[in-house]
Symmetry: C2
Subunit: 136 residues, 2 copies
DNA sequence: AGTTAATTCTACTAAATTAGTATAGTTTTA
DNA sequence: TAAAACTATACTAATTTAGTAGAATTAACT
């Protein structure tokens, strides 16, 4: 299951993408509209900013705004920042690979085999969807 | 990411499936071979027994054994018992559906849209794989 | 120019949940 | 009687979610 962080992050990005213009939107506005705890959302937006998805403007009239076109924002990248590995097992992950210490032989591990197949398909879907694809 | 419960459960089922005969195998044997805490594995096997995947025989010479043919054990069902919902959001789940309390309108929720697509594909894979498919 | 209000940013804390492990026994059966 | 599954519970650690307090920045107003 996705963490709320990821769900909220996706909803916030969607909210920004659906805006006509790309002027800064305040955290409070997004939080209210999407029913998200304002402080929790604050940390999520900050993460998305530090990861290069959002820009921020401080002070009066400030807020967050998309830094790229929605069609150029890959949901796979968003997922990796917010949720972490796409694979369901560390040993089936490209970007976050780790060997299982309980596993003698990866080649014959049935769990790995199955989860690799799941991973490949999930990745394909997340990579083929941009923010624009899911927002509109 | 999968919980260890699920990973260990799949590995234990695989271990049993790879056995030539279907005689009871003791927890300790599986635990040792797969490097799993014996007590943790105990609770997992118990769950799999109570869910109709395994039979158990008590006392000397006892142990756990598969109650069905590996080819008749759906990994989707195994996954649901061990890990829970296949969907990444409760609102995108068939078997464990729950409305999000933060969501005004499911129809326009981008997160739901995306996660439903992921779910459909993951489900297809898990349903098309039996224990026999991944063990051999 | 200086003050004020609105806003992001930073750091710390805390509550709640979940995962994983450990302990101590009871029951069943060869 | 010994070997095994079964039951119950309690503990620890990690993670997630959220809250608190204040610093830094900026725009607008006087």
């Amino acid at each position: 299951m996705l963490s709320k962080k990821t769900k909220y992050g996706i909803k916030a990005l969607t909210y920004l993408a659906r805006r006509e213009n790309n002027e800064p939107v305040q955290i409070a506005e997004i939080a209210k509209s999407e029913h998200i705890s304002i402080k929790f959302l604050e940390s999520i937006l900050l993460l998305l900013r530090n990861s290069g998805f959002l820009g921020a403007k401080k002070g009066k009239g400030g807020g967050y705004y998309l830094i790229k076109e929605p069609k150029d924002i890959s949901m796979a990248k968003v997922y990796r920042i917010l949720e972490g590995p796409i694979a369901l097992l560390p040993c089936a992950s490209h970007n976050f690979y780790e060997k299982c210490d309980d596993c003698d032989d990866e080649a014959t591990c049935a769990a790995r085999r199955l989860m690799t197949e799941v991973r490949d398909n999930t990745l394909k879907i997340l990579e083929s969807n941009s923010l624009a694809d899911i927002a509109f």
